[in-house]
């Protein structure tokens, strides 16, 4: 089932002098299996959006339909079920790690749900596999002895152990190096391929979203200002820049080349693909790479 967002508005501290509109009149369908990237400046409504989707916040107006249920109508004592279905990984999830070893940490969620030990074991193992944490090597490790990237992945595994059908990630790449990011890309892709998990990723860096997302949303002033496929970035460079977002360099180069009269295909995702299109146009594509 897709997620349907119909006319959602959210205002913080409504009716007080501190009233602040975070989201306004959002209409959006998120299809099953989609990996959606969301960008926007601080204060554009990104984090509010994620918190509405898993029922942490209730919108002031509008409907959010997940699996055919309008989650805005679910009573407070049943909202926990929504949070299991729609797993939200907060920014810097590693700061919430509190158990003394990796196994206990990841097992905490399923145990809390009353799941028996054998099934919990299975879930922990799967969550670790999905996040690239080798079970035997990491299960007994103390979380505070892990590297930043490893801790981040434990934080994500915590949520995956709840078997969510939708995964929301708030700035999952922040403060990670290249390797750390690459491992998280792998996890997201594998989840998507094996379980069809719909994933929504908030980031402030478009370069980080391009390798993994297939759709891009830019929010500004609480509204959706741009909603495009990820391979359409080079067609919208002006709009993206006007929204205060830096486009990936290779898309920018393609855009300028097109403007300077290159009759070139700019619908690409990666740097590799962009380089290939340029080479094709300039006729420097060597035979051995042409076939590959």
């Amino acid at each position: 089932m897709p997620i349907k967002i119909k006319g959602v508005t959210h205002i913080y501290k409504k009716g007080t002098p501190f009233e602040k509109k975070a989201l306004e009149d959002i209409f959006l369908n998120i299809e099953n299996g989609e990996i959606l990237g969301i960008m926007g400046k601080s204060g554009s409504g990104k984090s509010t959006f994620l918190q509405l989707l898993n029922g942490l916040l209730r919108p002031c107006r509008g409907k959010i339909i997940v699996d055919d249920y309008d989650i805005t109508m679910i009573p407070a004592d049943e909202i926990a079920a929504v949070r299991r279905e729609v797993g939200l990984v907060f920014q810097f999830p590693e700061e919430q790690i509190f158990e003394t070893d990796v196994y206990k940490e990841i097992a905490f969620g399923p145990k809390n749900l009353g799941i028996d030990e054998k099934k919990t074991f299975e879930r922990v193992k799967t969550a670790m596999k999905l996040t690239g944490l080798e079970y035997v090597k990491f299960k007994d490790r103390r979380p505070n002895e892990l590297s930043g990237g490893e801790k981040r992945r434990v934080g994500i595994a915590d949520i995956l152990a709840l078997n969510p059908r939708y995964l929301l990630l708030d700035e999952p790449f922040a403060a990670l190096d290249y390797e750390g990011r690459r491992k998280i890309y792998q996890s997201i892709k594998e989840l998507n391929q094996t379980r069809g998990t719909t994933t929504i990723i908030v980031s402030h860096n478009l370069e980080y979203l391009v390798p993994v997302c297939n759709r891009l949303l830019i929010l500004a002033d609480g509204r959706v200002k741009l909603d495009i496929k990820i391979d359409e970035i080079a067609l919208y460079i002006k709009e993206i820049k006007n929204l205060g977002v830096s486009p990936p360099l290779h898309h920018e180069v393609l855009y300028y080349l097109k403007e300077k009269g290159f009759n070139i295909n700019v619908k690409v995702r990666t740097r590799e693909e962009a380089a290939r299109e340029i080479a094709k146009y300039l006729g420097t594509l060597k035979d051995e790479v042409k076939s590959g």
Partner: protein, 273 residues
């Protein structure tokens, strides 16, 4: 001058080395970038400069003062300020100006002198108008600037920055990056800037690459930035433009090293048309 002389660091005797025989020097007023993978020993290194961590073997000298000597430590800590990634770990008071004054009060400086230095530090980081604010109402970037003011109030000669923008929103990040560079160029405070983001240290005098607890490279950015291999090996993402040049090279389009901006790259490609 700060000198690292054959510095080793391990948590326990016979356990693996976090820092393995590191030697380098940093001069007064220099801007040094330090990069390396998560787990390469960067943050351990950061904590060596002002004696929060002491070498297991070897020594660290700050203007000739030795971090191993307890009697030198107070002087060293005045000379070398350390800014951590998360300002929430560094702010201790409930009012901005009190937080900035904390270090000075600890040193027993006269109240009227403190007043002057606090105001000056807050002005430097462009946070004067918030001096009566409680820190918890500020954004991450604003809090980081308050933490920075607290350090600057002590008038350090060296500023060690452990990923100072990694937990800050992008708008705040630009501001802090600009401020720090200004502090270096105008006040002559040396910057020792640890980061994952090469863009931040592109203007550094030298970049120190740490891998597996060792110094891999210690050179001018110009000598390093174009070399994608060095960065890959150190687990750091090369500049986007270096990577894209690499991709184009694979497809038979060769760049000269001076083609460094997007516009220059576009112009170059247009000439090939």
């Amino acid at each position: 001058m700060i000198e690292f002389v054959n510095v080793h660091y391990y948590y326990k005797e016979n356990s693996s080395l976090i820092l393995n025989n590191i030697s380098f020097t940093i001069n007064k007023g220099e801007f040094i970038g330090i990069v390396g993978r998560n787990g390469s020993g960067k943050s351990t290194l950061a904590r060596m400069f002002n004696g929060i961590l002491i070498p297991s073997k070897g020594k660290v000298l700050v203007d000739g003062l030795d971090t191993r000597k307890a009697e030198d430590l107070i002087k060293i800590r005045r000379k070398v300020g350390l800014l951590l990634p998360n300002p929430d770990n560094q702010i201790v008071s409930s009012v901005v100006e009190e937080d900035v004054a904390f270090g000075l009060e600890n040193l027993g400086i006269k109240p009227e002198e403190i007043r002057l230095q606090v105001d000056e530090a807050l002005k430097l980081v462009e946070m004067e108008e918030f001096k009566k604010h409680p820190p918890y109402l500020l954004s991450g970037g604003q809090k980081q600037r308050v933490a920075l003011a607290g350090i600057l109030a002590l008038k350090p000669d060296y500023l060690v920055l452990d990923e100072p923008t990694s937990m800050i929103e992008p708008e705040g990040r630009k501001l802090i990056t600009g401020l720090l560079k200004q502090i270096n160029s105008e006040l002559g405070v040396a910057l020792i800037w640890i980061t994952h983001d090469l863009e931040e240290i592109i203007e550094a005098d030298r970049i120190l690459v740490v891998a597996n607890g060792k110094v891999k490279e210690y050179k001018k950015p110009k000598e390093l930035l174009g070399k994608a291999d060095i960065w890959k090996e150190a687990g750091i993402e090369p500049l986007a433009i270096t990577q894209f040049m690499q991709n184009l090279k694979q497809y038979g389009i060769d760049f000269k090293p001076e083609e460094f901006t997007v516009q220059e790259m576009v112009d170059f490609l247009c000439r090939l048309k």
